[in-house]
Assembly symmetry: C2
Homo-oligomer: 132 residues x 2
């Protein structure tokens, strides 16, 4: 499926700007990035785009499930092109995130989901620090 079809299937009009972003993000390579990182990639590809449009698109893409947003205590939002359920190593010093594929983690015991709620995904974060 090409990017135009992916956007249509997600219910998004394939505008010029969304296609530029899809060409960068939906190339099958997993990456973690900020809005500013993406703007730099857009510029490097010979295009340009308003930062408002970049935020608009990221929100739409995320709400459609084309990308994810990472849980992070940094003050800049971090997005993730790996939309499979997976986990992360986090170097808190640098903010670097490394993917852990889902089958590399196995839970022996999980707590009972609170009354009235459904399990909507488990994420494991392994904080790491550089050896001294």
């Amino acid at each position: 499926m090409n990017n135009k079809e992916k956007l249509r299937k997600a219910g998004l009009r394939p505008t010029k700007q969304r296609m530029i972003i899809a060409d960068i993000l939906l190339d099958g390579i997993n990456r973690h990035f900020t809005a500013e990182n993406l703007q730099n990639e857009i510029n490097s590809s010979g295009n340009s785009m308003s930062i408002a449009t970049i935020y608009n698109c990221l929100k739409k893409f995320r709400n459609c499930g084309l990308i994810k947003q990472v849980e992070s205590s940094k003050d800049t939002a971090i997005f993730d092109t790996n939309i499979n359920q997976h986990h992360h190593f986090l170097d808190e010093e640098t903010g670097e995130l490394i993917d852990i594929e889902n089958d590399e983690v196995n839970l022996r015991k999980l707590p009972k989901i609170p009354q009235g709620y459904l399990n909507n995904g488990v994420e494991v974060l392994i904080k790491i620090k550089k050896q001294i």
Copy 2:
């Protein structure tokens, strides 16, 4: 150990402002809160404090290990008085966090820590959503 001793032990001068915050946060009750939540509690207790001081104190308390900061994709920092290693349920709709004690989770399999790094803590996040 009283709060003045706790602050001294953490290497912090027990100022009037830090004691007010310690009296609220270090009462043994686990809670998740924002800087604004804390300011409201300070006001409710008949005191008042500059928001700059609240941020200063939260940063000091966190860096001394008296409180933790939660990994969250919300744009407001969330702090946690539960400083034990533990896990969370997260209702992404509302942002509500519920503690999961460490012994309620058991990992059968963990990935190899990347070369040159040390494991610095494992956090499990279970996203939940209201049943319809």
